[in-house]
Symmetry: C2
Subunit: 294 residues, 2 copies
């Protein structure tokens, strides 16, 4: 446990992962984020440096977790000139936790390699609570030796971190997970919306679904919320649209016709276009219930 | 248990339901089916009359189960002239187990009422084995008093027979169950097909799906079969197309836009058009894997 750990991007996910690692006895030595005030506060809490530059994080830490929002943010912190995590990065390990377009991970791996550093993809399929409790669902990809090397750290963040393959493949798996989740969710919203129009008791209908071939995880997590129009955000429609689009593009590139994937993507893009992108993904039921249709 | 029971339609489902009721101590007194040879055999096994007319079943029994294939067959045995179950049917209870267009059940109820008989919808969401073991998933609709009256018999056929509402509503619920099941199945085939094109390990991918928001009942029942191209028929693509079409039409009549339902319907109709209608519903993966595409 002599490794020094840094964090770039300490929003709710990153901050809770850092807290968790500190609780487990690791040294979290440096944090960096554009949000100065909350980052300074977190640094105080963790006994870490609140660095003003990316290069300072690399200088202070051996393993650097990056938890940023998107492709552009991820590429910008790994810049090949100016302030960058890759400055004097020889031997450092970067663990990149954002959900990115799969090919971005290949680019990150290339840039890290040029700097004699290591890049590992660590794709998360869980949320804030799991980050704090160290029970993330974590899919890793890249160089398996790097995965094995830092597994003691990953083990404290995730229930059972798994290695899925070459760089970019964890992002592919996550895109597929979310594509299928979004299809099941959009389909559930149609079945409940139609049941509502037919005058069926939706509580009964959900119970019957749960006992038959119509059962699914999203029935458990989103069914009642759809019935009650409770769309507080756990996973936003805008995120669903983004992830379904990543998967849909992978399908196009593979020359496949994926009509349900396409239909689910368009439902979530329709939500975004209607200004409903901040609703939870369960809000897709706003498009399928007669008395709600936007 | 003094009630006399008759069966019209003793294919694999009907025959096993009849056997089960006899095992439970009921008197199965009459069976009718166009397939003369196997029906005579079953009659011998059950100690029942093999009737040559529908009217004889009604004459011999108090409760008559009908287990026929489709709307046309169901209407034909309830004819308003000629040989018919409705001849001298006063006080008799008809339990109609076929999957029908919901409005047909209203017509059956009207015709039974005119004959001073009772009609109950009993929609099944299970298969042969469950019929034999008395563990059907049975959704009933119509007059609740009729349901209560014959519940002791239904209890021997089904794990927990449930009453869902007015005539036709059980068929509506079943159409929704199958519509959603078909969406989840067609979506799963897309996710596995795309995973295959990306070179991912599909056994790993299915395991990850099972641990995330992508989990579903059809992942358990159909996922491995899709991977291995094992499409022996439990529930045919042709049936999936038929049920998805019933649900899609209900949606159209309700003025709803249901894009995933429409896409799933077309995938199953595509299978039928390609001559793949006899494959199991899992065969929809034949349309989404690059090296299989028809």
């Amino acid at each position: 446990m002599t490794q020094q750990i840094g964090f770039v991007g300490v929003g709710r996910m990153g901050a809770n992962m850092a807290r968790r690692l500190k609780d487990c006895g690791f040294s979290v030595v440096a944090v960096y984020d554009n949000r100065a005030e909350s980052t300074a506060e977190l640094a105080g809490e963790l006994g870490a440096i609140h660095t003003r530059t990316l290069a300072e994080v690399t200088a202070a830490a051996d393993i650097i977790f990056t938890v940023v929002t998107d492709d552009a943010a991820q590429l910008s912190i790994f810049g090949e000139s100016g302030d960058s995590l890759l400055k004097n990065a020889k031997g450092k390990v970067f663990v990149n936790c954002a959900t990115l377009t799969p090919s971005i991970h290949l680019e990150l791996e290339r840039r890290a390699h040029d700097a004699e550093a290591y890049s590992l993809e660590a794709c998360m399929a869980s949320s804030i609570t799991q980050a704090r409790e160290g029970t993330l669902y974590l899919m890793c990809a890249g160089d398996k030796k790097v995965f094995e090397k830092i597994k003691p750290v990953l083990d404290k963040l995730a229930t059972a971190p798994r290695f899925v393959g070459a760089a970019g493949q964890a992002a592919q798996v996550k895109a597929l997970v979310n594509m299928l989740m979004n299809i099941n969710t959009a389909g559930l919203a149609e079945a409940l919306g139609l049941g509502h129009s037919l005058g069926l008791d939706l509580t009964m209908l959900r119970e019957i679904f749960s006992q038959t071939g119509a059962a699914s995880r999203v029935l458990q997590t989103d069914g009642e919320d759809m019935q009650n129009r409770e769309h507080d955000c756990f996973f936003s429609a805008a995120h669903a649209a983004k992830d379904s689009t990543i998967a849909w593009k992978l399908g196009v590139e593979a020359g496949l016709s994926l009509p349900l994937s396409a239909a689910a993507r368009l439902q979530y893009e329709r939500m975004v276009a209607l200004g409903l992108g901040d609703l939870d993904k369960s809000g897709v039921s706003e498009l399928t219930f007669k008395d709600r249709i936007w």
